[in-house]
Subunit: 210 residues, 2 copies
DNA sequence: GTAGTTTTTGCCTGTGGGTCGAAAACCTCG
DNA sequence: CGAGGTTTTCGACCCACAGGCAAAAACTAC
């Protein structure tokens, strides 16, 4: 989340193929590292992203034609960069709103959209929101994050009730001073856990009660 | 689904590493094929599985130590073999109930469990059942399939209502002759579509009505 | 015709999300 | 200091829908 919008970090390719096109940051796998270690290494070294709120594997792409120059496999990951982190990205790298992507190299456009869809789905039935939100926030602030990520309106009433009932959020007891316009001071909340929690209790065709 | 149980096709390794251990069928990727083509080729050639009701990518495993002999990446797929298909599997290959797996080679045990979990989740909110069921079936028969796959009881009443309401099932109009024990003849149903349909309407925090 | 079996249907209940409006708690200005 | 404006919070209602139960339906066997 950057500037109230869902954005993705892209860099501009400096060589063929797809010279000049924007593409996802990444790189080759070393002999002695796991896939996840490799992603983290590339992000840290190349775009100064040294911390991730969440990282999960998306999909592996391997069509023979995806790179016109040579056969290349890519395993895509969805990484969520903490909102309070401002990495010192190089000159040819920028945040791009996911809703208005430029021309992307390879199959990266479909990867970005798959990542967006995965995020949207998980926001709905997990506590993934923790990875978008600051440590402490009001319900209205959280609502704006959800609206930006989901792409549709969300009622603050409903959001609060759903996330509280599920035990995803908890009140801190603190409240935030109202702005100059006044208004009732908003209660501050935090995510009970800042790691992905799987809650399968929302499945249909559940097991019988006892 | 084999013999009323969820089973997985495994073969016994004939060489190191993990000689003698059971493992998932598969093989190396050729230069000019997609990942999916490769999976289908290996299944057809090696275990005579020439048709799949459904095939989807699961995850890619790449830990440096997963193969003690050499660095090896593997992309795992979940493939559902039609119930009416009886492939002529070679001598060293057998179906194994997922609930009682033998010692598996590499990280294949975790792959099988991930596949099972993916299947269970998707049964609940998609029409994935089509891939387990015969072309036409009664609700009781379908119920048994779901019980076997989900690992817990499912009420026929509820199953019928849920799947009908969602438009996943449709009645054929035919009925099945009762057995010798009698009983009301059961209506026959089929899946409206036999391809994976994504129904996102079951998400929480849906978009507002209009 | 009666008893037994299996499937189907209807009803009732509870849970939980969606919606709306009122109340609460603050500000500013006159 | 009170009135009006603003923002947040809470409560009340509605409704969709899944879970559970029991009765009804439709058959076989004796």
């Amino acid at each position: 989340m950057r500037e109230g919008r869902l954005q993705v970090l892209l860099w501009q390719r400096a060589r063929q193929p797809f010279l000049g096109a924007w593409s996802l940051p990444g790189g080759y796998l070393e002999d002695d590292e796991t896939l996840e270690q490799s992603i983290r290494r590339h992000l840290a070294v190349k775009v100064d992203v040294r911390e991730l709120a969440h990282l999960e594997q998306l999909e592996t792409l391997g069509d023979p034609g995806r790179n016109p120059q040579e056969r290349e496999l890519a395993t895509a990951y969805l990484g969520l960069v903490p909102a309070d982190l401002d990495p010192a990205v190089p000159e040819d790298t920028r945040w791009h709103p996911v809703s208005r992507l430029p021309e992307l190299a390879f199959d990266h456009r479909s990867i970005v959209l798959a990542g967006r869809d995965r995020l949207r789905a998980k926001l709905s039935y997990t506590n993934t929101g923790f990875a978008l939100a600051p440590p402490v926030f009001t319900i209205s602030e959280l609502r704006e994050l959800y609206v930006a990520a989901l792409g549709h309106e969300v009622s603050a009433t409903n959001l609060q009730r759903v996330l509280l009932r599920r035990g995803v959020l908890e009140a801190t007891g603190e409240r935030r001073e109202p702005g100059r316009a006044g208004g009732r001071p908003a209660a501050l909340y935090r995510f009970r856990s800042r790691r992905l929690e799987i809650t399968d209790e929302f499945a249909v065709l559940r097991p019988p009660e006892r």
